[in-house]
């Protein structure tokens, strides 16, 4: 008995050693830069001790304060735009035109394949129109950000809608005399609250971290301001970077917590965040016979 078991036990020990080694080494690779940021941003150069001066600047520096305001406003506008565009469309497709489901999915995931840099190069005409219509304000960046967050928001909302029986809910409401607006706003939406929150959280996290669009269109959002500020005060930039990572991490971990409270939410963050379809293979839409 023990002779048969011992090779298995040694295999188990080897596996344990392997797991601990991998986890410790990769953990160190990921944690050291974060700790370095904390150390760097609180260090007194040419002296001893710690200072919170760089962190205090986050609240007082006008450039950074303005940029934080701009980014928060943009994330709000993006969340509103994303929800208004996506929720009615997805509900409608499920209820009335299920044959368009694959097309809508394909279009929603398309921004993962087209690099943002390509979009911004091709958008010069559209951005000229936007700045003509809305003036020289960063707010219209939200139109572009809606496209950017589309795949992630789509996954969250689609998962939420799959978890409930939309058709039965809608038929019940319709047979009681509700119009389509009522069906969407007061029947479906309250039932997918978790999915709405997930989609909003990930959108906020993405908008707060966005740099490509804003910098190439010359708008001072948070990330652009962080990059600009580094030329005069590197410690402040590092402090702001660490702060923005922490906010994004809080949002995304909060997301996993919210969806984890419900059933089998283990993979929700992963599916929401993974940049390309990890689910079943994309198959071409089937022709109706």
């Amino acid at each position: 008995m023990s002779a048969a078991r011992s090779p298995r036990r040694s295999a188990r020990t080897r596996l344990l050693v392997f797991r601990v080694t991998v986890l410790v080494l990769t953990g160190a690779f990921f944690v050291i830069p974060l700790l370095s940021m904390l150390d760097f941003s609180t260090r007194v150069f040419g002296g001893d001790g710690r200072t919170g001066a760089a962190w205090a600047l986050l609240a007082t520096d006008p450039l950074l304060r303005g940029a934080i305001g701009t980014s928060l406003l943009l994330s709000l506008l993006t969340v509103v735009g994303m929800l208004v565009l996506l929720v009615p469309t997805l509900v409608w497709v499920r209820l009335r035109v299920p044959r368009l489901g694959r097309t809508v999915e394909f279009l929603c995931l398309l921004p993962l394949t087209v690099p943002p840099l390509v979009i911004i190069v091709g958008l010069t005409n559209v951005t000229a129109w936007l700045s003509y219509l809305f003036g020289d304000t960063p707010s219209w960046l939200a139109f572009l950000y809606v496209v950017l967050v589309l795949p992630y928001a789509y996954r969250a909302l689609d998962a939420g809608l799959s978890a409930i029986d939309v058709t039965t809910l809608a038929e019940a409401a319709r047979s009681l005399g509700a119009g389509w607006f009522t069906v969407i706003v007061s029947v479906v939406v309250p039932n997918i609250r978790t999915a709405l929150i997930s989609a909003s959280f990930i959108s906020i996290a993405l908008v707060l971290g966005e740099y490509t669009f804003a910098s190439l269109l010359n708008f001072d959002t948070l990330q652009v301001a962080i990059a600009l500020q580094s030329k005069s005060n590197a410690q402040e930039s590092v402090a702001a970077s660490l702060a923005s990572i922490l906010v994004a991490a809080l949002l995304l971990v909060g997301l996993s917590f919210i969806s984890g409270r419900r059933r089998s939410g283990r993979a929700v963050v992963a599916t929401a965040v993974a940049p390309t379809p990890t689910g079943p293979a994309p198959t071409p839409p089937q022709e109706p016979r």
Binding site: L23, P33, S36, P115, T212, Q223, I226, S230, A248
Partner: protein, 292 residues
């Protein structure tokens, strides 16, 4: 039900009406996604309002070609490093309890870190290994490395290290489902037939995982190739990679004597990413057969 009946059903307005509900969504994506992509594809072949190959031909400029090579090498190397380390990390996680705290922690953290590119990541590494970085100062004092007087972090080598920071977590996220698809029963069946651990991996495990692994590598490749913000924040001078060429083309209007050069560069990016993603979806289809 006759054929004609079916046809008239298809074209009844009542059947077309519901489609109208999707029009705002389609219109939005048309303006903000499809039109820009088409603008790039068409614009690359136009000069002074006339069809021309002059702009695309300039992609063969030695400086641009060198950057393309750099971009491809950077993407390939970071995909390989990210892929291998990420696969090991995923395996270390998957061999633990399926609902354990470790697994939850690692997937959540990887979800955050895979998104963590751009300016913040650049500053994380400047604070760590930059000229007055915490680790570079320590290494110089204790091991005499000379990192604080070197600019390697802002070169291609530095980009490899920095990109690994988001490539490894991405690999964990995309590769975990494949590892989950491996059934314990296969292992048991192999052991019952007398296979050793090595034989099991060589003849069952690895062949099953290879398409998923290669697919994930392609995904990582495309991810690195399309990445812009991290490199833009780290490299302020010169254009070592293609995305930074696009930055100069956009900010200085005329590059290599062409106003449309950004279109040609963007087209080059589309082509590379499209080829890679086609390979990816082919491999995913193969993977789904066993591990789906």
């Amino acid at each position: 039900m006759g054929q004609g009946d079916q046809l008239s059903r298809q074209f009844r307005p009542a059947r077309l009406l519901p489609v109208l509900g999707v029009v705002p969504f389609l219109g939005y994506l048309l303006v903000f996604l499809v039109v820009p992509t088409l603008t790039v594809v068409v614009g690359a072949f136009v000069e002074d309002g006339r069809p021309s190959l002059a702009v695309v031909r300039d992609l063969a400029d030695p400086a641009v070609l060198g950057s393309l090579t750099n971009s491809l090498v950077l993407s390939a190397v970071t995909a390989l490093i990210g892929g291998m380390v990420g696969a090991l990390l995923a395996y270390a996680v998957v061999t633990g309890p399926a609902d354990g705290a470790l697994r939850r922690l690692v997937t959540s953290v990887c979800g955050v870190l895979a998104q963590f590119g751009g300016v913040t990541l650049a500053f994380a590494f400047i604070a760590t290994l930059g000229i007055s970085g915490v680790v570079s100062v320590w290494l110089d004092q204790n091991l005499g490395t000379g990192l604080t007087s070197s600019t390697w972090l802002f070169s291609l080598k530095g980009l490899v290290l920095v990109y690994a920071y988001f490539q490894i977590p991405l690999m964990v996220i995309v590769f975990l489902p494949a590892l989950d698809g491996i059934r314990v029963q296969w292992r048991e069946a192999a052991e019952n037939l007398g296979a050793s651990t090595g034989q099991y991996w060589r003849m069952v495990g690895l062949p099953l995982l290879t398409p998923a692994f290669l697919g994930s590598l392609l995904l990582l490749f495309a991810n690195a190739f399309a990445a812009y913000a991290t490199a833009a924040a780290l490299v302020s001078q010169g254009n070592p990679i293609i995305p930074l060429w696009i930055r100069s083309a956009l900010t200085s209007e005329v590059v290599l004597g062409h106003a449309n050069f950004a279109y040609a560069l963007a087209l080059e990016m589309i082509v590379v990413v499209a080829v890679v993603m086609t390979g990816y979806s082919l491999l995913v289809r193969r993977t789904a057969r066993w591990l789906g």
